[in-house]
């Protein structure tokens, strides 16, 4: 049993998923914590599947993986569940890692459950935090296992889930919640090529067409965000938001209600069904602060809320509150910034 910590590294058409590198970073921290608590020397390893992936492995190593298992096969070019799960289950059984992390992407949330079912182990969905700690149950203590922390019940509760009795402990983790470590280009690691066991019979899904565009904004990396909600009122109203954002060097985000109303593209949506952000500053304009929205932004270092309703829930998590009309406050804030900067 290797006891190492693994990350399933997702690539789409030769590009590594951001969340996978965030997970390599997180796994490095977990390994350090585990080793200091137990005196062992577990390391971070990654699994990378695709048609041609060996070239990507060095990037994965720079972020902290000691070893990257690469499986290359034309039938693994695009993700499909049966071949991917078969390859994963096979390597896991041979190497016996203690933890495996997947990004909570459509791919990770399709693959993870299939692998968990096959191995008959637990899987916790859509985690927002991971820690190492002890668990006591019925007089037994399980030491240094993985705490899998996730919102549930529509974001109304936060649950800590453990799977103490079986290895590997597996979790899918939401994009944007784990910090990315700085890559170190001098890091050396091992690239292990593994022969593919995929059979034509496994290829049950035929991909007829695949359309995927780069997101028009990458809010997960934004240090400053100005977000608009229904209170902005109209599509034109968003011009005021965008103009203010540009002035202060911020990116524009939105609530789901504003996206659904057609004020702005879905790529800008923050929250449970949008992206999770953690900027230095989040300025929420005309956003009520529903739990599903807060789920994506309440880790922001500073929050300013602008709302004409003094009782809006957003004020309960804000550091600065301004009660007023968007059309009045935002131009005034812009003016104040230009005067001071």
């Amino acid at each position: 049993m290797s006891n190492n910590i693994w990350v399933f590294v997702q690539q789409d058409e030769g590009k590594l998923a951001d969340v996978s590198l965030q997970l390599i970073s997180k796994a490095t921290d977990l390994a350090k914590d585990y080793n200091s608590k137990t005196g062992s020397s577990v390391v971070v390893e990654a699994v990378l599947l695709g048609e041609k992936v060996k070239d990507l492995a060095s990037t994965v190593i720079q972020y902290g993986a000691e070893k990257v298992f690469c499986v290359e096969d034309a039938r693994l070019k695009f993700y499909t569940p049966v071949p991917y799960a078969k390859v994963m289950v096979d390597i896991i059984k041979k190497e016996e890692p203690q933890i495996i992390l997947y990004g909570a992407t459509t791919t990770g949330r399709d693959l993870g459950p299939r692998v968990a079912s096959s191995l008959k182990v637990g899987l916790t969905a859509d985690c927002t935090d991971l820690q190492i700690g002890d668990y006591e149950s019925k007089g037994e203590t399980y030491e240094n296992i993985l705490y899998q922390i996730r919102p549930a019940f529509g974001g109304n509760i936060v649950a800590t889930i453990v799977a103490p009795e079986k290895k590997p402990q597996m979790a899918t983790v939401r994009e944007g919640v784990m910090k990315l470590n700085d890559p170190d280009s001098s890091r050396k690691g091992e690239i292990v090529e593994i022969a593919s066991i995929v059979d034509d019979m496994d290829c049950l899904t035929e991909i007829i067409e695949r359309v995927q565009q780069e997101k028009s904004v990458n809010l997960t990396a934004s240090p400053i965000i100005v977000a608009g909600g229904m209170g902005v009122g109209t599509k034109e109203g968003f011009d005021i938001i965008a103009d203010f954002a540009k002035t202060i060097g911020a990116d524009v985000a939105a609530s789901r209600a504003a996206v659904d109303a057609g004020f702005i593209h879905k790529d800008h949506q923050v929250g449970q069904t949008g992206v999770t952000v953690r900027p230095k500053l989040y300025i929420a304009c005309g956003i009520s602060g529903a739990i599903q929205h807060r789920a994506g932004m309440d880790e922001s270092a500073k929050i300013i809320a602008v709302n004409n309703d003094p009782d809006a829930p957003i004020f309960q998590i804000a550091h600065y509150g301004i009660v007023g009309e968007i059309s009045d406050v935002i131009p005034k804030l812009k003016k104040a910034f230009t005067a001071k900067a």
Binding site: T80, P81, A85, T105, T106, T107, R109, D110, G112, P113, R114, A116, S117, K120, A125, D126, A152, F153, G154, N156, I157, V158, A159, T160, I161, V162, A163, P164, L204, T205, E206, I207, I208, E209, R210, V211, Q212, Q213, K215, D267, K280, L281, I291, R294, K302, I304, F315, Q316, I317, A318, H319, Y320, G321, I322, V323, D328, V329, F337, A339, K340
Partner: protein, 272 residues
């Protein structure tokens, strides 16, 4: 001919419309205070099945739920909308099941129905939000899966073509049967109940011939793999989400107030 369609539906607490008394003091959920509803995406799953039935003559729609006797309500609602048969998988020994144990029980129930071509689930249930039961049921049945399906674009007696959503786009994929698909709420709007069917089934109760109850023994499931015993994941701790109110500083909506705020943010390097 026709296709045999199995739809998996779940009764869930209405977590989207949480009211004040929904959370207990100790941070656990007061299920009693939340109305139980048909999991929203499962209505889209049922709708997809009913549309296939309309398209391919001779098809049958079987609806299964696993839950307590009160879950009969979602089965009745399925009958109202046009399901051919329903079954309630219910047994005290199923209690405490995580997604692994749930998918195992559902797999046994599906095999009890016998021949099936397509199993249709919702993408995820709004209580756990895991989206795991679909893929895990597919794996247990040893069949292919297509998750996050927005729409079934084409279908015939041998295969289907579905549009599934992926980050920043979509995929058009084809699979032969048997296959399990999970539906999002982007597809065809679910139909409402038929008045005639409501008349037919409104007095039906779990245990009646229209709503049979299936036990662990009946579906041939191994007790060790069911309920709490068959669940590798345990809940260690639950906390309700607390709003941190203490730090709020109200800023006057005046030139002076806003100037001071901007000044403070620039001097501590948050801005500029």
């Amino acid at each position: 001919m026709g296709l045999n369609l199995v739809v998996l539906v779940k009764q869930v607490p209405d977590t989207q419309n949480i009211t004040g008394d929904a959370m207990k003091e100790d941070g656990t959920v007061n299920r009693g205070a939340l109305p139980a509803i048909f999991n929203p995406e499962d209505l889209y799953a049922l709708e997809a099945a009913l549309r296939i039935k309309e398209e391919i003559a001779g098809s049958k729609v079987h609806v299964i739920t696993m839950g307590p006797p009160a879950a009969e309500q979602v089965l009745k609602e399925s009958l109202y909308r046009g399901a051919d048969t329903v079954a309630l998988i219910t047994d005290r020994k199923f209690a405490g099941a995580d997604t692994l144990a749930t998918s195992y029980a559902l797999k046994c129930a599906i095999e009890k129905i016998g021949k099936y071509d397509i199993v249709i689930c919702g993408r995820q249930a709004i209580d756990g939000d895991t989206a795991q039961v679909g893929p895990q049921t597919a794996e247990k049945l040893g069949i292919n899966q297509i998750t996050c399906v927005e729409n079934i674009e084409q279908i015939d007696e041998a295969s289907l073509i579905a549009r599934r959503s992926i980050e920043g786009g979509f995929e058009i994929v084809k699979s032969k049967y048997p296959v399990l698909v999970t539906m999002t709420d982007e597809g065809h709007t679910p139909r409402t109940s038929s008045a005639i069917k409501v008349m037919t089934y409104k007095n039906a109760k779990a245990g009646d011939p229209e709503i049979p109850m299936w036990s662990i023994d009946y579906i041939g499931a191994d007790v060790e793999a069911c309920g709490l015993k068959g669940s590798p994941t345990k809940v260690k701790k639950i906390e309700s989400v607390v709003l941190k109110a203490e730090e709020l500083q109200m800023i006057e909506n005046t030139d002076e107030g806003l100037n001071n705020l901007m000044h403070a943010l620039i001097s501590d390097h948050t801005l500029g």
